[in-house]
């Protein structure tokens, strides 16, 4: 394990730069997606037992500490799209109410001083919760008019949403459990990365 990598010692980096989400360009999002694809390929190799993939994964993560933040933006877009479908057009009050509720949930789940990865995992919990709510409402609304195959399709979709939500909660809980009490802060002084353990 490289001594310069903050991830070696536990908790994912805290204090990594938060990009200006409003100014995130399409190119930047595409670049982040490519990095995640590369990570996915490396993960496959590492899980097959190829040890040399791990340093490369570490390198990508330490080179791009803002990677998790980039996807927080995707979470917001997904959330907005779901709110749009769930509410009537022009019903600004309900839209705002749902947004406030989600914001409160997000704060409660993420807590204070969370790492970017924890923030992203919390966003995922919130979005998947909203997805479950959406499908439950849709199913309840359509139930009287559905044919058996259509009802089965709805049920499958609902099950999938439930599974996604549970897996999001599990991932967040696991990250918190494994990195408990080993907060790592990354400080950059004169382009030199220093990791301090809290």
């Amino acid at each position: 394990m490289s001594p310069n990598n903050s991830l070696d010692k536990g908790r994912p980096m805290e204090g990594s730069p938060v990009p200006e989400l409003v100014t995130t360009s399409k190119e930047e999002i595409e670049a982040s997606e490519k990095r995640v694809e590369k990570l996915q390929d490396l993960l496959r190799l590492a899980e097959k037992g190829q040890e040399d993939a791990v340093p490369e994964i570490r390198q990508i993560l330490s080179k791009h500490p803002d990677l998790a933040w980039r996807f927080v933006d995707v979470a917001h877009v997904a959330e907005d799209a779901l709110i749009e479908v769930m509410t009537k057009e022009g019903d600004l009050a309900t839209k705002e109410l749902i947004r406030c509720q989600l914001e409160a949930m997000r704060k409660e789940i993420a807590g204070k001083n969370c790492s970017p990865l924890e923030q992203l995992l919390s966003e995922r919990v919130v979005v998947t919760w909203l997805e479950v709510q959406f499908f439950e409402t849709l199913y309840a609304q359509d139930m009287p008019t559905l044919t058996i195959p259509q009802a089965e399709h709805h049920q499958k979709r609902l099950d999938r949403a439930h599974r996604r939500h549970l897996s999001a909660i599990r991932a967040l809980a696991q990250i918190r459990k494994l990195f408990k009490g080993t907060a790592i802060t990354q400080i950059n002084i004169a382009d030199k990365q220093i990791n301090t353990t809290a």
Partner: protein
């Protein structure tokens, strides 16, 4: 189109209408004349039901064609709705995939490994 047909129409006249599905089920008999039949599935087997010719046949043919049209419209609406929802869920799926990759990559790079595709455990350091 068929909803505006008020009088009894023969199969030959129905050829003028764009919805050709109205022609379905008409059989020409050797002794002359047309006979309306329809097929349905009973206990997994296809059974042909003989309805009749003349006014009864034409009325049943129209009724069946309207039912088919209604079902087609319903299926098209259902498909449209499904596609709309799938496009909506693509964003959630993208988010979930990216988060999962980052989560696994972080754990792996922090020295954890997955035990039999389940629990994450700290990898043992080799003894010096």
């Amino acid at each position: 189109m068929l909803r505006f047909v008020h009088r009894c129409v023969t199969p030959c006249q129905l050829h003028r209408f764009p919805n050709r599905s109205v022609d379905m089920g008409w059989e020409k008999r050797d002794r002359g004349g047309l006979y309306y039949t329809r097929s349905k599935k009973v206990d997994g087997r296809v059974i042909r039901e003989y309805v009749g010719g003349g006014t009864l046949g034409h009325l049943t043919a129209l009724q069946d064609a309207q039912e088919r049209l209604r079902r087609e419209e319903e299926a098209a609406l259902w498909n449209e709705e499904r596609e709309r929802l799938e496009a909506l869920l693509a964003l959630v799926e993208q988010l979930c995939e990216a988060t999962e990759v980052l989560y696994r990559a972080t754990l792996l790079s922090a020295g954890y490994r997955r035990h039999q595709r389940g629990e994450w455990r700290r990898k043992r350091e080799p003894k010096q």
